[in-house]
Amino acid sequence: MRQASVSSGLRQLDTLLPDGGWPLGALSELLVARSGIGELSLLLPLLAQTSRNGGWMILIDPPWLPYVPAMQGHGLNLKRLLLVQTQNTEESLWACEQALRGVRGGVVIGWLQGSQQPAFTQLRRLQLAARHGQKAAFLFRDHQVAGQATPASLRLHLEADAQRLKLTLLKGRGAHSGQSLRLRRDHLSLTGITPSLTPFSTEPAGQTGASRPSLSMHPMSAAP
């Protein structure tokens, strides 16, 4: 049986996703090998459509500050943007659940704060909360959790080379895992000017050196 879904706005991606789009009323996990390999761009069409229709975009613990002119350039209605900053994993999970249950509809995206990995039961709470609020719910997680079981309805693995972003379906309702899709990075950004990439801090700190940006998670929390 086909589940409720919403088009990702990217035709190729919709064909990969088991329900023909992002699941609604369920949790989706996006596992990223390096942060920003276009992962946020994948969600931009959904965010633009949702916020223009009055739905809320709730970002829990985004790793950096959303850049207002760029977000707006992709059609997002910033009047519907809510940012939430927490201090640890427990608060982060709590805030996600509140956001999922709090208002109906809309999109919730969480980057879990803290180094602690959430337990299966904690994630199941989020999955249930997403159903309750009829939301599109996304969790960005490190690709190293790929081996762990998840209660989420959808799990995608994202990695990139110079030209392409590779999406692999690790889990989907009624779907065979392992199917994959390659999207041109320069097509992901709607203007086609630049590809969109961000790394997680998968490299050891020593390797990056002082001249490299520290792309560690949650530098925002250090800000006043």
């Binding site: 805030a95 969109s196 961000t198």
Partner: protein, 473 residues
């Protein structure tokens, strides 16, 4: 139109003030002392104390020897008066005319006008008793055609009839029903009177001469011969209530019950004056100092369950350094309030009916106000100055630049450009001389060796060098 009055006698007000912080199941023995320096005696005690033999009239020293863990409070007439005033304000939910009869800790409500709306006054009397009990106050309510009859009805536990039948109702009552002072009842007894009917038969002049005009006037007020105008209580548009904790609370969760009671009382007062609040301040007095926190609401409200949800979030986050001895709830700004008609449920198709406020308040209550916000663009060419935190929904339109990165570093970071491959650029950004932030930069899209795309710039002034400022995601 005939009047109907409700009298609510707060039968244990002083004791209730001492014990209302305690959840009913806790049941610690509590007693009230007259506080006299010489031979203090027990005035009132709760069931737990009475089970140990601590009865009113007992010497305090004897009480303490019966119950070693007895918590003893002294009467505080000023606190009792303040409580009566709060409860009078609370009673305005049910009446447009409330007055305070301080002598017997009694509140008088004229309900004639609202009778049809509220059902018959007897049912209202029971409802008021129940609701006061949930606030921690024991009471008995009565109703009658005038204030004096309503008070008598409360004392007797039976409703008084309409005015034309009141004399017949009074006659068979024992004199003790009038709750006269001991001297007076002794005098009446010596004269051989047992029932009200016997003194009501006396000639008025004789009655006044033998028993004083006060009793005559009281009988006249009961039978409606003498008008009994009441001074209405004027409620101030603020609220403050304090509770002493019978047992010091060292866990935040132990504060939930007492503060919940205070909030419930506050919400009743707000309904009484048709107002709402946007903030309520809670002071926790501890051994050495005090802790103050505020519950904030996005919209004026008087919804108790809503406030309690906020309270729970706040308490979970609170770390008590010392046990709490006393709690004060204060709300200063009562705001005119248009309650949404009840039964109006949000329409999922209409975003305006799906408000963010309750979620916002819950998040802010636990995470702090600064941790939950929206963003708005401001007109400045320098990216690090092109945004501002704002309250959600307050975002204003800003320029659209889809070719810029989705993530911005709050602080640009110095970098060595040799480590990166340039994909696009430059884009010149030059601005700021007018406000002392003179700068000139060339921006580039660059990629690092790991495949990430970043936003870098070369600054010429004021701080020459290469910097990273954003991330293309």
């Amino acid at each position: 139109m005939s009047e109907t009055w409700l009298a609510i006698e707060l039968t244990h007000l002083a004791l209730d003030l001492a014990r209302r912080a305690q959840a009913p199941h806790r049941d610690l023995p509590i007693a009230l002392s007259d506080g006299k320096a010489q031979g203090p005696r027990i005035l009132d005690s709760n069931p737990a104390a009475r089970r140990l033999g601590v009865e009113p009239g007992l010497a305090l020293s004897a009480a303490l020897s019966l119950a070693g863990n007895l918590l003893v409070y002294n009467r505080e007439p000023a606190a009792e008066q303040r409580a009566l005033e709060r409860l009078a304000a609370w009673c305005y939910q049910y009446s447009s005319a409330v007055s305070i009869a301080t002598d017997q800790h009694t509140l008088l409500l004229e309900t004639g006008g609202s009778e049809r709306l509220l059902g018959d006054s007897q049912r209202l009397a029971q409802q008021l008793e129940q609701e006061l009990l949930t606030l921690g106050y024991h009471s008995r309510a009565g109703q009658g055609p005038n204030p004096e009859a309503a008070r008598l009805s409360a004392r007797l536990g039976q409703p008084a009839p309409a005015l034309n039948a009141i004399s017949a109702w009074l006659r068979p009552l024992p004199l003790s029903a009038l709750d006269l002072d001991p001297g007076q009842s002794q005098a009446l007894e010596q004269m051989g009177f047992r029932h009200l009917g016997e003194i009501m038969r006396l000639p008025r002049k004789a009655l006044a001469r033998r028993l004083g005009t006060a009793l005559l006037h009281r009988l006249d007020r009961l039978t409606g011969l003498r008008p009994d105008p009441q001074k209405l209580w004027q409620q101030p548009l603020s609220f403050e209530s304090t509770m002493d904790l019978a047992a010091e609370a060292s866990h935040c969760q132990a504060l939930l019950f007492p503060i919940n009671r205070l909030l419930r009382e506050l919400c009743g007062v707000l309904r009484g004056c048709d107002r709402g609040i946007q903030s309520a301040h809670i002071t926790l007095q501890q051994g050495g100092g005090e802790e103050v926190f505020t519950l904030r609401l996005q919209q004026p409200s008087r919804d108790e369950s809503h406030l309690v949800t906020l309270l729970q979030e706040r308490l979970e986050r609170l770390r008590l350094r010392q046990p709490v001895r006393r709690i004060t709830l204060r709300a200063d700004d009562f705001i005119a309030f248009d309650a949404a008609p009840e039964g109006l449920f949000p329409d999922p198709e209409n975003p305006a009916s799906n408000p963010l406020d309750p979620l916002l308040e819950r998040l802010q209550a636990r995470l702090g106000k600064r941790s939950v916000y929206g963003l708005r663009g401001i007109a400045d060419h320098r990216p690090e100055r092109s945004w501002q935190r704002c309250s959600p929904q307050a975002a204003a339109h800003s320029p659209s630049m889809p070719h810029r990165p989705l993530w911005l570093f709050q602080q640009p970071r110095r970098c060595a450009i040799e480590d990166y491959r340039v994909l696009a650029g430059p884009e010149r950004i030059e601005s700021g001389w007018w406000d002392g932030h003179d700068c000139r930069r060339d921006y580039f899209v660059v990629r690092d060796s790991g495949g990430s795309t970043l936003w870098a710039y070369r600054e010429y002034k004021p701080e020459p060098g290469w910097y990273l400022q954003g991330l293309f995601s």
